[in-house]
């Protein structure tokens, strides 16, 4: 039968704490991604062409 070593038992609380922090980090990054998509921050997907937002005078033309 498998038995946890003493060091694993002793550090269980700490390890679960680290797990919680990592899970929270994943949730936060996922939430930031969703929020960015909603606000349009990363949604200028113009591959291989200049982003209109960075070219002077282009923004109006795109809007038209």
């Amino acid at each position: 039968m498998h038995r946890d070593s003493e060091v694993h038992i002793r550090r269980r609380g700490r390890n679960f704490g680290v797990l919680g922090v990592l899970l929270a980090f994943i949730v936060i990054v996922f939430g930031v991604t969703l929020a960015k998509i909603q606000t349009g921050g990363f949604s200028e997907g113009f591959d291989h062409v200049a982003r209109p937002g960075l070219v002077p005078g282009q923004t109006e033309e795109v809007a038209e």
Partner: protein, 312 residues
């Protein structure tokens, strides 16, 4: 043989093994809470809106950056902390956390917080967060803290940046109003700390840290506290006349600064003998008022920005 292998071999847990709480203590949570509050105010009073989740996570990264600089400070100051009674039980001097672990944690969290703030908010805010960590860990902790008695002033500047970072996170810029928030905390820190230093017996001299009370004397400390309180009042009233403030802010600022200046004036007029006689009542009073001052002043900026008839 590592500590882990030693513990397995002997089957006994060291009484002072680091737990999560020790790593949390490395981040100086009290300092972090001040950063959270002031950065949140900066973010809330900045013009334009910010997505609530992005705003909340930006504050989280700013707090983490403050924690990172705290860990780097504790790593570098372990020799001082070992000497002083107040800090002897911190994770590194007590032996619960290895200095290298604290350094690694500080560096890791520095990179993480700056990168994540850049991705979450913008790179202007991320730059200022990185600068703040560098300023606190390198300029203050490693260099000026041990060489000049103006270390309180310089350390205070590092603690003053969070509201501007919060503002930058919301807008991508750092206009005059954001710098006035920095100025307010910058001017507030010296009298706040010197009032404390005049009634609490701090053993910095044993750690050979040049504090103003020791290098220039307690009378000069009282005089400097009054001078900086005057500077604080000027910045505060100036801020009340910008887009940060309004009639309500001005009224609150006048009361807060009036009481603050009265306390600083009374403290300057006293001698150490007077102070001992009434158990440092004036010094303690000014210190307590300074805590209320910062909280109330920053809160009124938020109220002024939130109420429909607020502002000029």
């Amino acid at each position: 043989m590592t500590d882990v292998s030693l513990n397995i071999a002997t089957g006994t847990a060291p009484a002072d093994e680091a737990g999560l709480r020790d790593y949390w203590q490395l981040l100086k949570p009290r300092l972090m809470s001040l950063s959270v509050f002031t950065a949140l105010v900066g973010l809330l009073v900045a013009p334009g809106g910010v997505h609530p989740f992005l705003g909340a996570t930006s504050i989280l990264w700013i707090a983490l950056g403050a924690g990172a600089s705290g860990a780097l400070n504790m790593w570098f100051d372990a020799d001082i902390d070992r000497v002083m009674k107040r800090t002897r039980k911190r994770p590194i001097p007590s032996g619960r956390v290895a200095p290298g672990d604290a350094l690694a944690l500080g560096l890791f969290l520095s990179v993480l917080s700056v990168t994540m703030l850049g991705l979450t908010a913008n790179w202007v805010a991320a730059f200022w967060l990185g600068f703040t960590i560098f300023f606190y860990a390198v300029i203050y902790s490693m260099w000026l803290k041990r060489t000049t008695s103006w270390n309180t002033v310089i350390g205070g500047l590092a603690g003053a940046f969070p509201p501007m970072i919060g503002w930058a996170a919301a807008t991508g810029g750092t206009p005059l109003e954001a710098w006035l928030l920095v100025g307010l905390i910058f001017m507030w820190t010296p009298p706040h700390f010197w009032a404390l230093a005049l009634f609490v017996k701090l053993d910095y001299h044993e750690a050979r840290i040049p504090m103003l009370t020791v290098t220039h004397g307690r009378d000069e400390t009282r005089r400097q506290a009054l001078i900086w309180s005057l500077g604080l009042a000027i910045v505060s009233i100036l801020a009340a006349f910008t887009s940060l403030g309004g009639p309500l802010t001005l009224a609150v600022a006048l009361v807060l600064n009036g009481v603050f200046l009265k306390g600083a004036w009374d403290m300057w007029r006293r001698t150490d003998a007077d102070s001992e006689a009434d158990n440092h009542a004036v010094e303690k009073g000014l210190f307590k008022w300074s805590l209320l001052y910062l909280f109330a002043h920053f809160s009124v900026f938020v109220v002024e920005a939130a109420i429909p008839f607020g502002g000029w």
